[in-house]
């Protein structure tokens, strides 16, 4: 065979149309679907996640759309100063009756279904905070604090507190939606970041073995012996805890979760004949790790991921519950639980928090189980 083929071979047909999933992945998808509970959990979770991602359109203290003097405004995205509507504050408070009157006189506004944000305080609750859900009261009572009572234009269903308010008069439903969103996003980001670091570290250890492996393993053993929670307590007394501070501290300890699995897969895989074959071809180590070994390690990794996600979410919740989590005022499920604990006379706080957190974690566990089933090679024969 010559490098320069004089007569080009006729066979140059493009790749035939293959199904977008390889047969093995098709079987995995079938296995995943066969686990009905996991399959439905995925759909329910995706729906909840999708809704929570659009939290600003669901529960917000600003209208979605405002038409004012012939101009269409988007308060959801843009912060308009109040002087636009004849006020003097830097940020418009659309819940203010004066502003509402002004806008309605020269246009209209479209509110989201629930007119509270996670930090907006309902000043019109008829009883001292925490107030029970609005549907437990009659209209008379519900509207008792509004300036015009039952006749007030703001005493409408959009201003209901469907799940009551917390002890600072903030709407529980709104805080729940935003809290769910931040929990899931935090969990996903932490899972993703710790997987990337964990896989890279495991891959290097497993592939090179020997001293690299030995030193790294001992390092990880010492590292995991540090009690994470205490460290966070100490750090948060020095630094003001925020999303990224917490993220960094938790990441520093959560990446070790995957190292063991990936390392084992690489150790096993690096002696396969096709790895030797690639080495004999002169393929570089990095390409071997990326193209030949990583796909094998991904099965174990993907199986683990939902459980890491769960762990990340519950860690954040636990920290919030203890008061060392996200900064005060931010929406968080852990803080809701803490409020429930402090206000046993207001059971809607604790019960809501419990139901939402257990629902979220259960859904993720069910999805995780289905993923594990899907990647279980022994399942294929059954």
């Amino acid at each position: 065979m010559n490098v320069s083929t004089d007569t080009p071979l006729p066979v140059t047909s493009a790749a035939p149309k293959r199904p977008w999933l390889s047969p093995i992945n098709q079987r995995r998808l079938a296995n995943f679907k066969a686990n009905r509970r996991g399959f439905w959990s995925l759909w329910i979770f995706l729906l909840l996640f999708f809704l929570a991602m659009g939290a600003e359109f669901l529960t917000n203290d600003r209208p979605i759309l405002v038409s004012y003097k012939g101009e269409l405004l988007l308060p959801v995205f843009i912060e308009y100063p109040e002087e636009k509507f004849g006020g003097f504050l830097a940020v418009t408070d659309y819940r203010d009756p004066y502003i509402q009157e002004e806008i309605n006189a020269d246009g209209w506004m479209l509110w989201p279904p629930v007119r509270y944000s996670y930090r907006s305080v309902n000043k019109e609750i008829p009883v001292p905070a925490p107030a029970p859900p609005s549907w437990t009261m009659d209209k008379e009572q519900r509207c008792s604090r509004y300036p015009q009572g039952v006749e007030d234009p703001n005493c409408v269903i959009g201003n209901w507190n469907w799940l009551g308010t917390d002890d600072q008069g903030r709407d529980v439903l709104a805080r729940l939606v935003y809290g769910f969103r931040i929990s899931v996003l935090f969990g996903l980001a932490l899972t993703l970041a710790s997987s990337v670091i964990g896989i890279a570290a495991g891959a290097v250890q497993g592939f090179y073995g020997g001293w690299v492996d030995l030193i790294f393993q001992r390092f990880i053993e010492i590292w995991t012996a540090i009690p994470t929670l205490y460290l966070i307590l100490i750090v948060s007394s020095v630094l003001a805890p925020g999303f990224w501070t917490l993220f960094t501290i938790l990441l520093a300890f959560s990446w070790v979760a995957l190292v063991g699995v990936v390392r084992a897969e690489f150790l096993r895989g690096r002696n396969f004949e096709y790895i030797s074959a690639a080495r004999a071809l002169g393929v570089s180590n990095r390409v071997i790790m990326w193209r030949h070994l990583l796909p094998n390690a991904m099965v174990a990794t993907l199986t683990f991921m939902p459980f890491i996600l769960n762990g990340s979410i519950s860690t954040l919740t636990a920290l919030d519950f203890l008061g060392f989590g996200l900064p005060p005022g931010s929406a968080s499920l852990g803080e809701l639980l803490a409020q429930g604990k402090n206000n046993l006379q207001a059971p809607w706080l604790g019960i809501t928090g419990f139901i939402v957190i257990s629902l979220m974690l259960s859904l993720l566990i069910f999805i995780g189980e289905a993923v594990r089933d899907a990647f279980d090679p022994r399942k294929s024969l059954a």
């Binding site: 065979m1 083929t5 080009p8 035939p16 004949e273 096709y274 074959a277 080495r279």
Partner: protein, 543 residues
């Protein structure tokens, strides 16, 4: 059914159901075994021979497996309709089985004594002392020397041959009437294979045991069996006395099998051609370290001072038993493992080259591995596998040119280039080996190390691969280093041979001389075992 028929299989079918689809593995086969007789079931992989044997003991994964038709009569009792309890009495007691892989058939956590005595305690209710005595007796019978010291050994402390002997001791423990041997010697070296076969033959003669022998090796059948059933695609196409079938095969498939021995002539010895790869005094020593300070207390001399010279267009065969250092030698030449001694490729010294300096040379030096299933990444398409080397060594090629070269290489090894977008699992063992060869050939190498490229293949496929390799060599003037324990294949390919044992050269020279007129006892024993299945005197070969 005549008086002395022990096992009668009538009209047996086996079907497997997977994911709602049912496939027939065995289709209405019938055969019978008389007392004291050896019947061989021959066929290539996937022909349904093992499945047939396993269904005799009902060891298939029921309910995924099922028997749409047929019956299996053992002394008049239908085993297919027998209950689990009745089957348990038959298994290991009246019918025993030896499996192919002695490493995985023994429990690695149990001692030899426990493995063998378990079966005695279950079926005979023997006490510990009685069982121990019987175990010793059995181990002596199967030819394990100093059985007392071996009682406390674990399987990993035994050699392959010894493990298979322990397996045989287990199967014989209850003096079965029928022994089913499923490729009992395939995983063993030729010399050990000859010993095991001889042992089985002797034991059978002593006890008047019947044997159902499953193999793909016609040499064994000819030497060993009374009658033979030839299976292909789940059907028995021909059965009869061994002599008659070998002398006068009726069915085309039987003729095809008998004609499938690797044939043809190796390249002619030609001293004038340039040396491609040479090594002097090559040594690969692995250190044995002991104690807290990891002091080196000795060496495992895997390769111990070997000189090698491979010329363009010529083939050097390296033969020897497993553990003799053949593969280590090859890997050292390719600088895949570290060694000492001089290595030169096309006159260029490469022993001191770093991994990086070796990379441009890897284009000209290629390997084909033994296991066609392990050597191809299951997650890459054939085009990606074959094209990988091109990406490394010819990065300037466009995707289209690369694709054209991949297609060309696949055509050259006899595969349809249209199949290059499929994944390895869609190919048979022989086709996979062709893909491996294409991966090596697409780079147009000068030197190819072939590490047992035919060992995992069926006999008829072996012959095709041998022909292919020879054609490629002639066409491109390739230098081959051919490593194999299969002397028949080496004879068909190599013009020079080195016989290795425990890292050292036992004998070397022109292939014709070594094969036809071996000088040392070891080589003679090797040839006898490989070509005539004869055992050597004690001490010449390993046990």
């Amino acid at each position: 059914m005549s008086e002395d028929t022990l096992l009668e299989v009538k009209d047996l079918s086996v079907a497997f159901t997977q994911g709602g689809r049912t496939g027939t593995a065995v289709n209405r086969i019938s055969f019978n075994i008389k007392k004291g007789e050896t019947v061989a079931l021959v066929g290539e992989s996937g022909s349904g021979k093992s499945v047939s044997a396993l269904s005799v003991l009902k060891l298939l994964p029921y309910p995924a497996a099922s028997h749409p038709s047929g019956e299996i009569l053992f002394r008049g009792q239908d085993l297919l309709s027998a209950s689990d309890n009745e089957m348990r009495k038959v298994r290991g007691n009246e019918i025993s089985m030896i499996f192919q892989e002695p490493m995985t058939s023994l429990n690695p956590l149990h001692t030899v004594e426990r493995q063998v005595s378990e079966i005695l305690k279950i079926h005979r209710g023997m006490s510990d002392t009685a069982a121990r005595e019987r175990v010793l007796e059995l181990l002596t019978q199967v030819g394990i020397r100093e059985p007392e010291t071996r009682l406390a050994s674990y399987p990993h402390q035994l050699s392959g041959g010894q493990r298979q002997r322990v397996m045989i001791a287990m199967t014989l423990a209850n003096e079965p009437e029928l022994l089913i041997a499923d490729e009992p010697t395939t995983a063993l070296d030729v010399t050990v294979q000859a010993q095991i076969l001889k042992l089985l033959k002797e034991l059978q003669a002593e006890r008047g045991m019947a044997m159902l022998f499953i193999t793909h090796d016609l040499g064994i059948v000819e030497k060993f069996a009374d009658r033979v059933c030839v299976m292909t695609k789940g059907e028995i196409v021909e059965q009869g006395l061994v002599r008659e079938i070998f002398d006068n095969p009726q069915h085309p498939y039987t003729r095809h099998l008998l004609a499938a021995e690797p044939k043809g002539q190796p390249p002619v010895q030609d001293e004038s051609r340039p040396v491609v790869m040479e090594a002097d005094d090559l040594k690969v020593w692995f250190q044995i370290k002991r104690g807290f300070l990891r002091k080196t207390v000795g060496h495992v001399k895997a390769v111990d001072g070997i000189d090698v010279r491979v010329r363009e267009g010529q083939t050097l065969g390296i033969v020897g038993e497993s553990g003799s250092g053949k593969t280590t030698l090859g890997l050292a030449l390719l600088r895949m493992i570290s060694s000492t001694g001089r290595i030169a490729f096309k006159g260029q010294e490469i022993q001191e080259n770093s991994w990086k300096e070796m990379r441009p040379l890897r284009r000209d030096i290629q390997i084909v591995f033994q296991d066609p299933f392990g050597a191809l990444s299951p997650r890459m398409s054939v085009a990606d596998i074959v094209g990988e080397g091109l990406q490394v060594h010819f990065p300037q090629l466009s995707a289209e040119e690369r694709d054209r070269k991949v297609a060309g290489a696949l055509e050259e090894v006899g595969l349809d280039a249209e199949t290059r977008h499929r994944y390895p699992h869609e190919f048979s063992g022989g086709q996979r080996q062709r893909i491996s060869i294409a991966r090596a050939m697409v780079l147009e190498p000068k030197f190819v190390m072939l590490d047992e490229p035919t060992s995992a293949l069926d006999m008829s496929v072996q012959a095709q691969v041998v022909d292919l390799l020879r054609d490629l060599q002639r066409k491109h003037g390739l230098a081959y280093l051919f490593i194999s324990h299969d002397l028949k294949v080496v004879r068909a390919l190599a013009n020079e041979v080195v016989v290795m044992r425990q890292g050292k050269v036992v004998e070397s020279g022109l292939a014709a001389d070594v094969f036809d007129n071996p000088q040392t006892d070891y080589t003679k024993a090797l040839m006898a075992a490989a070509f005539r299945l004869e055992t050597a005197e004690e001490g010449v070969v390993s046990e």
